[in-house]
Every structure is written in C-alpha cells, then in structure tokens.
Symmetry: C2
Subunit: 276 residues, 2 copies
C-alpha cells in the first residue's frame, strides 16, 4: 500500500467499531491507474452510487471521491486505486444507524504483478468448486461480503493458473473469482447475467458496448460449463487485467482469438488495457 | 464499547489492510457476560474453531481466547463480549496469504438495552422480505459477511417490533436477523436446518438438547411461513436474549407458552438467560 486516505486524511487504520469490519457493510471499487490518471472513473463512480442506493448508504459527493482518486492516481502514476465506503462507526447490532457517517477509504497500490505473457498470450483457467449463493438484493454491486471469492481463490496454488470460474448453486457459470466472463458460441458473444449473483463489471459493460458497435450479437444468458467446453473463445474482463484471452480451461486448449482481436481497437479507444 | 483488545493489547483501531475489512474474511462470536463470567464459553469457542476449519483460518490457541474473554468479562461484570478473528493484514487480492497472521479482536459492551417486558412477556416479530442466499460452504458458521442481515434489519423502524424472520430464496423460514427460530407444531419442536444458510446458534444447540431431555420430539426441517401461522408457540434464541417467546407474528397473537415453560429449568441450569 503506497497511499492510504481515510475521509481525506492520511491514515493507516480505521476504528474498531466500523461496520465495514463487523459486517462487511459497505462497497468498493478497484480502478486501474495509467499515466497518473484513473481509468474509466465515471462508470466506476456510477456503479458505486448504484451500490449506495442498493445498500441505502448515503453516497459521498461525487466531486469528493473524484478529487481524492485523481490526486492519488497522480501520485501513483501507474498502479491500482481502491475506494471503499463503509457505513461507518456504530454500536452493536445489525440495524443501520439512522444517520451513518460513511467511512471513505482511498488506497493506492503498485500495479498487479501478473506475468506479462498472460496479457500477451492468454491465461490458463480452472473451474472452482466453491459456489456463489444467489441474492438479488446484493447481486451486481461490489459490496464488501467477499468470502465466496476468497474460498474460491483458495482452491488452487498453481501459479500457472491465473483465474477460476465460479458457478451458482445450479451449476451455471457466473464469473471468475475477480473477473467477468465472456464466451464466443457460434455467432454470439455470451456473458452470464448478474441479477442473482456476480458483479456488474465496469469493463464487462464496455466489452458489451464495444462488441455491439462492432456488429456482434451480445447475449446475457446462463452459461453452462459444457458450453464453455465447446466455446470458440473465452475471455475474462476486469479493470486491472482489461480483457484476457483464456487459452486453456481445465486442460482444453482454445486457439481462436478472432472476436477478441475484433474488439481491441474499440476497447483501447475507451481506455481498457489490451494487447494485440 | 467499554473494552477493546487487538491481539491482546488495548487498541481503538485496526490496520487498513486487514482482510476482515476488505472481504469480511473472518469470524465472530457474541457471548453474554453475567456476574463477571462469559456464558457458554466452551461451545462458543468450539463453534469458532469449526468456523476456522471451514475458512481454513489458523485458529488461535483456545487458552489465549479464553484468557482474554474471561478477563474482559470480569471487568464488565454484566454485558456483552464480541470476539472477532480475521485473516489479518495482506496485500491486494482475494487469495489468502500462505501464512496469515490472524487478527484477534475482543470487544466488551454494555448489556443490550431491550425493554424488560420482551423477556418477561414475549416479543412482536415480522417476516422480512430480504432473503438469505444459500451457500453450504458458509452456512452454519458465524462469518463476517452479514449484509443480508443488515438489509433485513433495515426493513423496519417500529421500536415495538423486536425481530424479523428471514426466508431463503424458496420462501422457507431459516432464522431471525440475529436469532434462531423454533416452532411448536403439534407434538414437535421444529427448527430449520442450517446446512444451506443461517447460523448454528450456540443457544439453538442448548435448546435442542434440553428439549430432547425433556421428552420433546425435536425436528430439524424446513419451516414454511404458513406453518408459522398455525404454530402453537414460536420462540427465538440467541446468546444475549436467551429464549424469547414470540407473542405476535405479523399481527397474529400467540398465547400458548407451554413448551417454553417446560424448557426453562433445563435452560437455566445451563446458564441460558430465561424468565418464567
């Protein structure tokens, strides 16, 4: 951690009675920083505000978040921003205080240490056995209850495997532990809906937009592991990796890279980090 | 908060990079303190250890937790203990560090400020619309991902309503926002299983044990709201309330109190706080 601000002030700690710690009662955003600027800042702040509405958390003024994120990005130059909002300090009990003083945390980190060939040549992925519980009230937003992802990411140690796909309890693929998933099936680009579980990724939204502009048919629908075994291409997206090609899933090689390449110019034009 | 220890030392804050804050990556226990001693200490620590195994969190030595809880209870005399364990400080990413330094937090609070007639005459309860997602990997343990309970508890403001019952996504009653639920149906004492969602309450276990010793037939099975509407008695249990009688659920009065009264001597003998 190279930078840390709590409510705008440099800090190294938060209060022990913060509801973020006690209940995961809050939200976060993770942004890439390139050339001293946060990437896709506006849609990240929009999703944060949607999350605030879902959790009935008073949203801080957008200008305040923007100013702190931009200043931290400027000092990092290249790296990662994490913004967390929690429902602040409170007494015992689940009941939210009537007038919470939201805790606003801005953290700055070095860029992720992924091997460069993951970006250039694609990654290996696996299927996780940890399932995602369904909860429409929490689906789509980036809240602080992330134990399912922690347990899924704990399933493998092999450093050659970059990501793991997670299914819901009915065995439908939803996302990777920290990325959204796309599959090219025939003439369609398919990505699972995020209405019951999963996160509505900012880069997921950009990929869908660019794909439609490129003339692709983009479909949000349930995706079965058996369909992934037949997919021509599989891609993963998030704010830090941009879009990765999956070149191996559970031992099966995927060699095609046509659709992803078709998306590259549009993605790059929107600031999403990709490599041809 | 009257007492606060982090890893055995008086403290008011935890590090900003603690995984308890970032992911809810941890566990907690809430214990009643009476006459300077923690109530049902052994089963609480046993459940904590089960939770550690489920999350693959290195459990602290039981003696260390015991010593800190007993010392804090002695200083409180009457009140509430909360013990939290998190996977400690770490860098970015869901992946658990290979050798986490668990953060151990002991907090001491005043007794809950419930109206005394709730204990003596029973409580009013409601049905919540916020549902519980199913996840067998997390069910039963008392982990720090509690947004579902927070959203459910935010559904009502009426101070006359003490608790809200929560259902899973199929509409089966699982528990209250912070208590387990029992219903007397004919000759059976029914409580929902906690294998898919909900918490295996320590007092829930004591109630089941005492009920069996008293000759009651105790059944763990799914409980529908329509069955609650027909129940002779409904009870809620947790470590702070002991066992409450529900005297009104969604406007329906429940006047019988036979089974609960039959359990009182056995519960009291085990240290569970109850009132005749």
């Amino acid at each position: 951690m190279k930078v840390a601000l709590v409510n705008g002030e440099p800090a190294r700690s938060i209060a022990l009675d913060d509801r973020g710690l006690h209940y995961g009662d809050g939200l976060f955003e993770t942004l890439a920083v390139r050339s001293g600027a946060p990437v896709l800042l506006a849609p990240h702040l929009q999703r944060l505000e949607r999350g605030c509405r879902a959790l009935r958390l008073p949203a801080p003024e957008r200008e305040v978040c923007e100013r702190e994120l931009r200043a931290t990005a400027a000092s990092l130059r290249e790296g990662v921003l994490k913004l967390m909002l929690t429902r602040g300090s409170a007494g015992r009990g689940y009941r939210p205080p009537p007038n919470p003083q939201v805790t606003r945390i801005v953290l700055g980190y070095d860029p992720p240490a992924h091997p460069p060939q993951w970006r250039s040549h694609g990654i290996r992925a696996r299927l996780c056995s940890t399932r995602l519980g369904r909860n429409p009230a929490l689906a789509g937003i980036k809240h602080l209850n992330r134990l399912e992802q922690v347990l899924a990411r704990a399933e493998w140690d092999d450093p050659k495997i970059a990501e793991g796909l997670m299914m819901d309890e009915d065995g439908r693929v939803v996302c990777a532990t920290s990325a959204n998933v796309f599959a090219v099936l025939g003439r369609e680009l398919v990505t699972p809906p995020v209405a019951e579980c999963g996160v509505a990724g900012v880069v997921r939204g950009v990929v869908m937009e660019v794909a439609r502009e490129t003339g692709l048919s983009v479909v949000e629908r349930a995706l079965l592991p058996s369909e992934l075994a037949d997919a021509d291409e599989i891609m993963l997206s998030n704010s830090l990796i941009g879009v990765w090609r999956v070149r191996e899933l559970e031992g099966r090689e995927l060699s095609a890279d046509n659709v992803r390449r078709r998306l590259l110019p549009g993605l790059a034009a929107r600031g999403v980090s990709v490599e041809a």
